[in-house]
């Protein structure tokens, strides 16, 4: 019965346009979204494909080869000493930043979550400020610090880049872990201590496992973010040996880039997507065991 009644109504709605019925198929929105996705991802896909180009051009295809990846004895990603150094520098900075920023940020998040006095609020405000401040401002400020007050103490290059990246990334684990802590609440630890655990035991055996998905998400996000970072790394770079892949892309794009640069960019892309994908999978797995967590931590940033 109801089908017979609905059918003519649906037809009039169709003729009256898209806004009459929000539950009909929105062709315009669909078209715009599809066009947007193509626009946003196709250029990157093309850049990746042209890293396998046989010629020197990054726009006219001259056949498939691994010339710019492995085969060229001087200008391929594998054999170009400067490029190899840039890769090593990129991953070194990413690893160090993760190793320092994530533990520091996790401790900070626990502290802010459990201690609400004025100093804690001030520290939290400063942390949030460092979260929203444009990277350009932070990078230049640190450059001024390292070349004036701390001149000679922190040389530009790896040490300065490391300190700068840790400072810029510190707030990410704080925000992610804090969100998780807010949803957990102090009850589990209190229960553990009721049952005789000391405070540090409660943290190690109850709280840490509970926030481990958030810590994992932070590791993936910070690592991927540092690999992609350009502003901080460029502002604090010193000798040529401290150049990262992002800086190589920047420098090459201002002269005459070969598909080797595409290969380097693809390398960055593969690394970050791999790290984030592995992080997300592990996160899901732990989350499923513990329940109550979804991909929201990844969506926040």
């Amino acid at each position: 019965m109801s089908v017979a009644v609905d059918a003519p109504a649906a037809r009039t709605v169709t003729t009256r346009g898209y806004f009459k019925n929000p539950w009909r198929r929105p062709r315009v929105l669909q078209g715009v979204t599809l066009a947007y996705l193509l626009w946003s991802l196709l250029p990157v896909v093309i850049a990746v494909i042209f890293s396998f180009n046989d010629g020197r051009s990054r726009i006219s295809w001259q056949g498939f080869s691994l010339r710019w990846w492995t085969q060229d004895q001087t200008d391929s990603l594998l054999h170009d000493a400067a490029m190899r150094q840039a890769m090593a520098q990129t991953y070194k900075l990413a690893a160090i930043t993760v190793l320092v920023a994530v533990p520091l940020g996790t401790l900070f998040a626990i502290g802010v979550d459990r201690w609400h006095a004025r100093p804690a609020r001030m520290a939290n405000f400063t942390m949030l400020l460092s979260f929203v401040v444009p990277e350009m401002i932070l990078g230049v400020s640190l450059y001024i610090l390292f070349t004036n007050l701390l001149n000679g103490l922190v040389p530009l290059g790896t040490p300065a880049q490391m300190l700068g990246l840790i400072t810029f990334q510190l707030s990410y684990p704080v925000v992610i872990v804090r969100a998780r802590l807010l949803s957990i609440g102090p009850e589990y630890e209190e229960a553990a201590m009721d049952l005789g655990a000391t405070p540090s035991q409660a943290i190690r055996r109850i709280l840490l496992p509970l926030i481990s998905p958030a810590i994992l998400a932070s590791v993936a996000l910070v690592f991927a973010d540092v690999v992609d970072d350009f502003v901080t790394v460029a502002a604090l770079s010193g000798p040529a040996s401290s150049e990262t892949l992002a800086q190589k892309i920047y420098a090459a794009s201002r002269s005459s880039p070969t598909p080797e640069v595409n290969a380097a960019a693809t390398m960055m892309l593969v690394t970050t997507l791999f790290v984030v994908a592995v992080g997300l999978l592990l996160y899901r797995r732990i989350g499923r065991v513990q329940g109550g967590s979804n991909a929201s931590d990844f969506m926040q940033l």
């Binding site: 929000p22 991802l41 400020s141």
Partner: protein, 313 residues
């Protein structure tokens, strides 16, 4: 048993209700390392920027900065000189400033309109492929910004596919990388629009269908429901998106370096090019302070909104 007794005896010492089980130094000790780090690496640099911007320049020594660390020594001569270039008719400084505002405004408007449309579709209408669409929407965040702009640089080159595609429209000979406003603005849109889409998507996704149904039941048309229910409910996310997108745009210089020329240089370019110049450190500090003032209002707005959202949650 003795553990509980000990914990309870600490009750009197602790002033914080959340910390009844812990000695008073316990939670503060978690905050200490991060706070010290932020004090040295985040607060201190700003102080040094002030000291350099309000200090002197040693022209005998390649324009090396002479920072004045004591606030009562601060002289505003060099800072004022830099600042005055923005209003005293030096096109070299004025034009990038005006351009920055125009670019950021246009790019933000395009980001908002296009981003809202896409987020709306992904949140409300995409059914079968929602997961896939979401992954595709998020993925640009994990692709290096430089790589994404670099990819466009190749496509926009003088004999590249974009020129070829547009040649039927008489645009085949346009050199898109020669310093065109439209290229740089679209480059900014391309770079930052994912940051606009995600918060709007998250907020639209949270709106309960029953609210929209209620609007329709009470006689509103689909269009009215959108303007009077959906849009107001997503307003905080729109504002958050605008702030997240504009903050980095104000400091951006690499988009223009890759896709534009000196004809399209922005405020960020002014700062970046100081590094190699005589007296550059002092000017750089002054420019960073000016930039900080420009972005202060959106920054504080964002912090206030985040705090409010956290209190409501």
């Amino acid at each position: 048993m003795p553990e509980i007794g000990r914990g309870a005896s600490r009750l009197a010492k602790s002033s914080d209700p959340g910390g009844v089980w812990y000695p008073s130094w316990y939670w503060p000790s978690f905050l200490t390392p991060g706070s010290i780090w932020l004090a040295i690496m985040f607060v201190l640099p700003f102080y040094v920027v002030f000291a350099v911007a309000f200090g002197a320049v040693d022209f005998g020594n390649f324009g090396a900065p002479v920072p004045y660390y004591a606030p009562w020594w601060w002289s505003f001569d060099t800072f004022n000189e830099t600042l005055s270039k923005f209003y005293a008719g030096s096109a070299f400084y004025q034009e990038p400033l005006i351009r920055t505002f125009v670019y950021v405004f246009s790019a933000t408007v395009i980001c908002l309109v296009l981003g809202y449309t896409v987020a709306y579709f992904a949140a409300r209408s995409a059914t079968r492929y929602k997961g896939l669409i979401l992954i595709l929407l998020v993925s640009p965040l994990w692709i290096s910004y430089l790589m994404r702009i670099y990819a466009w640089q190749g496509l926009l080159g003088s004999d590249g596919p974009i020129s070829f595609m547009l040649s039927p429209f008489g645009l085949g000979d346009t050199n898109w990388l020669e310093g065109l406003h439209v290229t740089v603005v679209l480059g900014l849109v391309y770079g930052y629009i994912p940051f606009m889409i995600l918060p709007i998507y998250a907020s639209l996704d949270r709106i309960q269908e029953s609210l929209l149904e209620a609007g329709r039941d009470l006689g509103a048309s689909g269009r009215q429901t959108f303007w009077r229910v959906t849009l107001p409910l997503s307003r905080p996310a729109i504002l958050a998106g605008i702030v997240i997108v504009t903050l980095p745009m104000f400091g951006d210089y690499y988009t223009n370096d890759l896709l534009g020329s000196t004809k399209t240089s922005m405020f960020g370019n002014l700062i970046a090019e100081q590094r190699t110049q005589n007296g550059g450190s002092t000017r750089m500090s002054s420019l960073v302070l000016i930039l900080a003032v420009i972005v202060l209002v959106p920054m504080l707005y964002y912090l206030r909104e985040t705090k409010r959202a956290a209190e409501q949650a």
